[in-house]
């Protein structure tokens, strides 16, 4: 095409002798490559005539490598989806009954479920009643709701989330004050053998217990005021006239199990919680029961969630309320309430059943509750780790395109919107993840801004596996975009200008110059976002819930184990897995960042 070039090649192929040039080069230029490879010239001239040889070889190699990495990633995701039991697959087995229950009732329900004749599997989600009711109201996929008190069940009825008239009272709980087994107890002469006491504590006895604790605050763990057990505890303290004694010396924790744990691990000397949680826990010692008339009826209620359509829901609720279950309920540390009562039949005010004396409880809870009954194993490590990685990878995949586009725009634009957009971008990074989760729920919840729209297409996002992906993507996105922005900013814009002068339009320049140069930085951003997604907790638990076998990732599993009686031993396994994944991720990130720097040091200057 250039006459000059052709003439030289045709007419005077040795006018500019590559061999001579190279030879002189080797003499003049002492670059090590030349010293080592004086015959480069011969090699390259030999390659010239080949029509399709090595010209684009380097680019091809890079492209092949990138494509291979993407392919491996996609294959990994597909494999994870396939390996995940029932996460995203369509299963032919009837769907399990999803029972959302107060955490204090969890162990009882699991024991009931264990002997349930129906073939349907049951999946439990347990947390404080005050949290599961709003979650179901926000569209969480539940079939049966079990609350730890009547007030919340009434609230659920008012919210219209349970089938009217389906609520049944299934058990009654009692409040106990307990300490860590082996700790120095209160100087109570009549205290019975550890863990087997039936003593009812009056105001003076509680005072003596509190006084008996040495050391400064705090001395008493109880649940927050919205959680049933927390409300009952406060009621009891108030009616015993003990408010002033405890006042600021209480620790409010998240739910009934957390009260138990705070004492079991020795954080707080005394706890005020449910007898059912304490009974049978060898780490704990019951100091005594609070008078049954000092707090509202701590009743366990079960109801069918409205619109569930699950055929086994009614049977399960009936089973819970059936008299044949009384023995089992008692053995789990509960008492059995009077005749079966329906919610609409009772008045909410005072106690409807004569307060049972705890002494009348026919079973001593602790001995009757074997620890190794094979139920309530808690989450299994393998699926949880796989699910975590899958959630993280999918989140990164969804975040990649927006992060690259936004990061690139922020790196190059002169627009006045750059400042505000950059600030909004960083928002999820500085907002508490719980707030991010709340915003997501407000957007995608079934009664949220976009939730109804999605529902029209048959998509329910909140409290699903994809909600966990969404949460991880949104929380990881700022990190991703910031790292991508830095990567693009570190690419000298004159490379792109040069590409323009060579005839490449901006889009092609982006693909052929800017993106390849920023690629290691983009990959580093992806790894960082992945790591953040794997560790995501706050937003996930709000928008996706802690649903075992569906949305439960590593962080959520650890949280669940933290509050379950079985968890204390196994939790380290999960913690170790988290640590290993985190360390691997950070090592990969470090390696990729180094590559980004190396790539830009490559050439250009001088």
């Amino acid at each position: 095409m250039t006459p000059w070039g052709r003439r030289n090649r045709r007419g005077h192929p040795r006018t500019v002798d590559p061999g001579r040039g190279g030879g002189q080069h080797a003499l003049l230029d002492f670059s090590p490559q030349h010293a080592r490879r004086p015959r480069t010239v011969t090699l390259s001239t030999r390659q010239l005539p080949t029509p399709l040889g090595g010209s684009r070889r380097g680019a091809v190699v890079v492209a092949v490598r990138v494509r291979a990495a993407v392919a491996i990633l996609v294959a990994l995701v597909v494999w994870l989806i396939a390996a995940m039991p029932g996460s995203a697959q369509v299963s032919t087995v009837p769907p399990p009954l999803r029972v959302w229950s107060a955490v204090s009732v969890g162990p009882l329900l699991e024991r009931l479920a264990d002997s349930w004749s129906d073939g349907t599997g049951i999946r439990f989600v347990t947390d404080a009643t005050s949290r599961i009711v709003p979650q179901i109201a926000a569209g969480a996929p539940a079939d049966v709701l079990v609350t730890a008190d009547r007030t919340w069940m009434l609230e659920a009825t008012d919210l219209g989330i349970v089938e009217p008239g389906s609520a049944r009272r299934i058990a009654r709980n009692r409040l106990v004050i307990f300490a860590r087994a082996g700790s120095a107890g209160a100087p109570e002469p009549d205290r019975v053998e550890a863990g087997t006491t039936n003593a009812i504590l009056d105001a003076a006895a509680v005072r003596a217990l509190l006084k008996g604790v040495r050391g400064p605050d705090p001395i008493l763990a109880l649940a927050g005021p919205d959680v049933p057990v927390g409300r009952y505890a406060r009621e009891a303290l108030r009616s015993l006239g003990l408010e002033g004694d405890v006042d600021r010396r209480v620790v409010a924790v998240g739910n009934a199990r957390a009260v138990v744990n705070a004492v079991a691990v020795g954080e707080v000397p005394l706890g005020l919680g449910y007898a059912s949680d304490v009974a049978g826990d060898p780490a704990l010692r019951i100091e005594g029961y609070l008078p049954a008339d000092s707090y509202g009826p701590a009743e366990v209620w079960a109801a069918i969630v409205r619109g569930t359509g699950h055929t086994a829901a009614q049977a399960f609720v009936d089973e819970l309320a059936s008299a044949s279950r009384a023995e089992l309920i008692r053995s789990a540390g509960f008492t059995v309430p009077g005749p079966d009562v329906r919610l609409d039949a009772v008045d909410v005010g005072g106690p409807d059943v004569p307060a049972r004396s705890p002494g009348a409880a026919s079973v001593t809870p602790r001995r009757d509750r074997p620890r190794t009954d094979g139920i309530a194993e808690g989450p299994a490590l393998g699926p949880v780790v796989l699910r975590s990685i899958l959630v993280g990878l999918l989140a990164v995949m969804f975040a990649t395109l927006p992060a690259v586009m936004l990061g690139r725009w922020l790196a190059r634009t002169h627009s006045r919107a750059r400042g505000p957009v950059g600030a909004v971008l960083l928002l999820p990074l500085v907002l508490p993840p719980v707030v991010t989760g709340f915003v997501l729920l407000a957007l995608f919840g079934s009664s949220g801004l976009l939730g109804p729209l999605l529902a029209q297409f048959g998509v329910r996002l909140s409290f699903s596996f994809w909600a966990a992906v969404l949460a991880a993507a949104v929380v990881g996105f700022p990190l991703y975009a910031v790292v991508v922005r830095n990567a693009f900013e570190s690419v000298d814009p004159r490379y792109e200008e040069l590409a323009w002068t060579l005839g490449a339009r901006p889009r092609s320049t982006f693909r052929r110059v800017a993106l390849p140069l920023a690629l290691p930085g983009v990959a580093a951003g992806a790894v960082l976002a992945l790591a953040r997604g794997l560790g995501e907790f706050g937003a996930t638990i709000v928008v996706a819930g802690n649903i075992e076998g569906e949305t439960q990732t590593l962080a959520l599993a650890v949280y669940r184990l933290l509050e379950s009686p079985e968890g204390r031993g196994r939790i380290w396994l999960f913690v170790l897995a988290s640590a290993v994944i985190a360390v691997l991720g950070l090592a990969l990130w470090e390696w990729l960042s180094t590559r980004q720097r190396a790539r830009l040091l490559d050439g250009g200057g001088r």
Binding site: M1, T2, P3, W4, G5, R6, R7, N8, R9, V16, P18, G21, G22, Q24, H25, L28, D29, S31, Q33, T40, V41, S44, T45, Q47, L48, G54, S55, R56, R57, G58, A59, V62, D492, R494, Y495, E497, L498, A499, W500, T501, L502, G503, A504, R505, S508, R512, V513, P516, L517, R599, L600, L601, D602, G603, G604, G605, R606
Partner: protein, 237 residues
């Protein structure tokens, strides 16, 4: 890659027609350029103290300063200074620091704009870098990079060749040979060149018309000072 196809073929003989007619204004920071350059010569060298805006003039000609005002005629094509984007100009721009794409090897750098491999390698051979074709820029010395960048500019210069200190990293012997190669290239191509160099030997070796850029603007240097006056083109030295 598309530039080549889009451009009308450059034809014409070495007559006394106006080759370059440039009127530029750019005000940016401390820089205040207001220049006028009109010449029938193919080869123009711009000299002047550093920081005066010589490189910026090349960037405006390449279309990289969209805020510049004025107009620019190259041969029979006229653009307003900031309008036509750089990818439609068909310039061969060699910036002062070579700016080879670090993720591509030398041959890929040369063929980036769509040139075929044979053309790229002959051009590379002319400026003595054809033995480097499959090396990465990071493995090149400063002089090698400079030669590759020069070859890339030559390969892609369809309408205008812009060289910014193109020979600074070359030793004397090689500088002499490479200048000779550029001289032959210019003789074979009807493409005007604007050279920015602080070394008089470059302008002299390429037989350029010298223009001096100062605060007062761009002025044609006294031809008697410029050493060999513009000789007839098309003839190898």
């Amino acid at each position: 890659m598309s530039a080549e196809r889009d451009l009308p073929p450059m034809t014409g003989t070495a007559t006394a027609r106006i080759r370059l007619d440039v009127e530029l204004r750019l005000r940016r920071g401390t820089l205040d350029l207001d220049t006028h350059l009109r010449t029938s010569e193919q080869r123009v060298a711009i000299v002047g103290p550093s920081g005066i805006g010589k490189t910026t003039i090349l960037r405006i000609l390449a279309g990289l300063e969209p805020t510049a005002a004025g107009r620019l005629s190259v041969g029979d094509v006229t653009w307003s200074a900031g309008d036509v984007p750089p990818w439609e100009r068909g310039v061969g721009w060699m910036p002062q620091d070579a700016l080879l794409f670090p993720h591509l090897d030398v041959l890929e750098n040369l063929t980036f704009g769509g040139a075929d491999r044979a053309h790229a390698s002959t051009t590379a051979a002319a400026v003595e870098c054809d033995h480097l074709l499959h090396r990465r820029p990071r493995n090149l010395s400063g002089g090698e990079r400079q030669r590759v960048a020069l070859a890339r500019a030559l390969v892609s210069a369809k309408r205008l060749l812009l060289l910014d200190e193109p020979f600074g990293a070359l030793d004397d012997a090689r500088r002499h040979r490479v200048i000779g190669a550029v001289d032959r290239w210019l003789a074979d191509h009807d493409v005007p060149m604007v050279l920015v160099s602080h070394d008089r030997r470059d302008a002299a070796g390429l037989r350029c018309e010298r223009w001096v850029l100062s605060e007062g603007g761009l002025k044609r240097a006294d031809p008697s000072v410029a050493q060999p006056a513009a000789a007839d083109e098309g003839q190898a030295p």
